[in-house]
């Protein structure tokens, strides 16, 4: 039945096989993606800048390469999007902000260059929370992206447009960035896969920074396999990124079909079962996923880690300090050019002392050791919540950023471990539920392996949001 699939439903591997067999062209695949964006993005606002000419030129070049027998790897001829904090040569990169609305970089970010060199097809630049920290704001030059499962709800952030675009089937993969959960949050809220790789595995050069020691670049994708194939293109040492790790790049897809038999998986259930704002549906879905992994042959055991509140406090103080340092000059000279929500969040870094920050860095080491030496020396992975509840409505953000943020992703920015959000089902209201799989540093293959096994068992990949409803709602609103 695979032959009847719409182009947007083809995985990267399936599309790649057809491109190589000559039964599909990249120009055809790209044209279908642009048509779908044209039909539905008016209701979702995932894209800030669409680049159809560039996309069709990339696609034509990929087709020509296929004809000439040139194979640049898994992304050749595959359409993708970039969060609008990734520099793109000659294409504006706004950070979704009034402050950089006319910024046109002279060079590509490393990730953009690697995807281009790999034969990928750039569809355009995707919305974000302003400077990857603001919120779903309406006082910016561009509207906030909306959740394809229900456009009255946020798609998560800060990689909001990336999450919306992949969930809507505009592309199979869009790059995001993750400083406290900005890949895994939209992954969780949009019912897709979001992978924050190990700190240092993917170059951050040319991506507008939020917090130097917490920033990670990674993919949001429709499936675990799509994530693995993306990692094969973007991972690798960059001598000009000061945080880039000099490690071998593994075959990220090697364990996707191995199942989880024999793996030992830890669950710090205390992290989330009594957390403020947790939903019973989210907990039940994680419990059910844990049972599924056990049924598939993994040993699943409840463990204890330091309180999540400690991880969160540690990460928030570091993030606020580093973000404020980056924005200090603009804050002193043009603070009102930031959205209200962005302003209220970044300003907090001005009120942190040097001693506070040093205490946070000391705690960071203790927490990283507790996770790695304390737990991951005995277990292959940890599973826990990514979001504590399904995506909230925009109305919850009317008065600003909520003090209690219902996400438990920051812990693994603090420790630097690879962490991936995967779908676990849907709430009664039809919104996606999720959980997080965390691995040892640079052991993405095990994280992906567990994610792939769960994905197969849950069978959610063929469930798509009803975009026709979104378009109708948008038409009614206008």
């Amino acid at each position: 039945m695979a032959e009847t699939k719409s182009p947007h439903a083809l995985s990267i591997a399936e599309a790649g096989a057809r491109l190589r067999a000559g039964t599909l062209t990249s120009t055809g695949l790209t044209g279908a993606a642009l048509d779908r964006i044209g039909a539905f993005d008016g209701a979702l606002d995932a894209f800030i800048t669409l680049t159809p000419e560039r996309a069709m030129a990339d696609a034509a070049a990929a087709d020509a390469d296929f004809k000439a027998g040139i194979d640049k790897g898994p992304f050749q001829g595959i359409p993708y999007g970039l969060k609008d904090i990734y520099d793109t040569a000659g294409i504006r990169t706004t950070c979704h902000s009034r402050l950089r609305v006319d910024n046109v970089p002279p060079a590509d970010s490393v990730v953009a260059a690697r995807l281009k060199d790999g034969g990928g097809v750039l569809l355009g630049k995707l919305g974000t929370h302003e400077f990857a920290i603001g919120g779903p704001s309406f006082d910016l030059p561009f509207p906030p992206a909306r959740n394809p499962w229900n456009r009255d709800h946020i798609p998560g952030g800060s990689s909001s447009g990336s999450g919306a675009a992949v969930a809507a089937g505009f592309c199979r993969m869009a790059m995001g960035s993750d400083t406290g959960g900005s890949i895994r949050g939209p992954g969780a809220y949009c019912g897709i896969v979001g992978l924050k790789p190990t700190y240092g595995l993917v170059s951050r050069r040319g991506v507008f920074p939020l917090s130097y020691t917490l920033d990670h670049c990674g993919p949001l994708a429709r499936s675990v396999e799509d994530c693995a194939l993306t990692m094969q293109v973007i991972a690798g040492h960059d001598p000009l990124d000061p945080a880039s790790a000099k490690v071998d790049v593994p075959d990220f897809s090697r364990g996707l079909g191995w199942g989880v038999h024999g793996l030992k998986i830890a669950v710090p259930r205390h992290f989330y079962v009594k957390a403020e704002g947790v939903s019973a549906e989210s907990v039940a879905a994680i419990d059910s996923a844990a049972e599924t992994l056990a049924r598939l042959g993994a040993t699943v055991e409840e463990i204890t880690l330091p309180d999540y509140d400690l991880f969160n406090a540690c990460g928030r103080i570091i993030l606020s300090s580093e973000a404020y340092a980056i924005h200090e000059q603009d804050f002193q000279t043009r603070p009102l050019d930031y959205a209200r929500m962005t302003h209220a969040r970044i300003i907090m870094g001005a009120f942190i002392s040097a001693a506070d920050l040093t205490q946070a860095f000391r705690l960071r080491r203790e927490l990283a050791t507790a996770l790695n030496a304390g737990v991951l020396s005995r277990f292959d992975a940890v599973i826990t919540a990514s979001s504590l509840a399904p995506a909230p409505p925009f109305a919850d953000y009317r008065d600003g950023w909520p003090t209690a943020w219902p996400m438990q992703t920051m812990a693994f920015n603090v420790t630097g471990n690879p962490a991936m959000s995967v779908p676990t089902g849907f709430s009664k209201a039809g919104l996606p539920l999720s959980m997080q799989i965390v691995g040892r540093p640079f052991d993405e293959p095990t994280v992906l392996r567990i994610g792939a096994a769960l994905e197969r068992a849950l069978g959610l990949l063929d469930t798509w949001p009803a975009l026709e409803g979104s378009a109708a709602a948008q038409a009614a609103a206008s």
Binding site: T213, A245, I317, A344, M348, I352, Q359, F361
Partner: protein
């Protein structure tokens, strides 16, 4: 344990901290920022765990070493 500061004390503290940083907080944004300031003070207190002077910060930890669980 020191007593929690009153809201008035916190407002004065935030005002002073903003001035020291060379920032002006617009009046209509003050209450939202004050709420975050209160939450940040709670988080800052959590960072102070019992530890010795030998407990060095994270800029010396190696993820490559931690991969081995060390």
């Amino acid at each position: 344990m020191p007593a929690s500061p009153s809201d008035d004390d916190l407002k004065q503290e935030l005002d002073a901290a903003a001035k020291k940083a060379g920032l002006t907080i617009p009046a209509e944004r003050f209450e939202v920022i004050l709420a975050s300031y209160k939450e940040q003070k709670r988080m800052v207190a959590l960072l102070r765990q019992p530890r010795t002077a030998a407990a060095e910060p994270s800029n010396i930890y190696s993820l490559v070493a931690q991969r081995q669980g060390s």
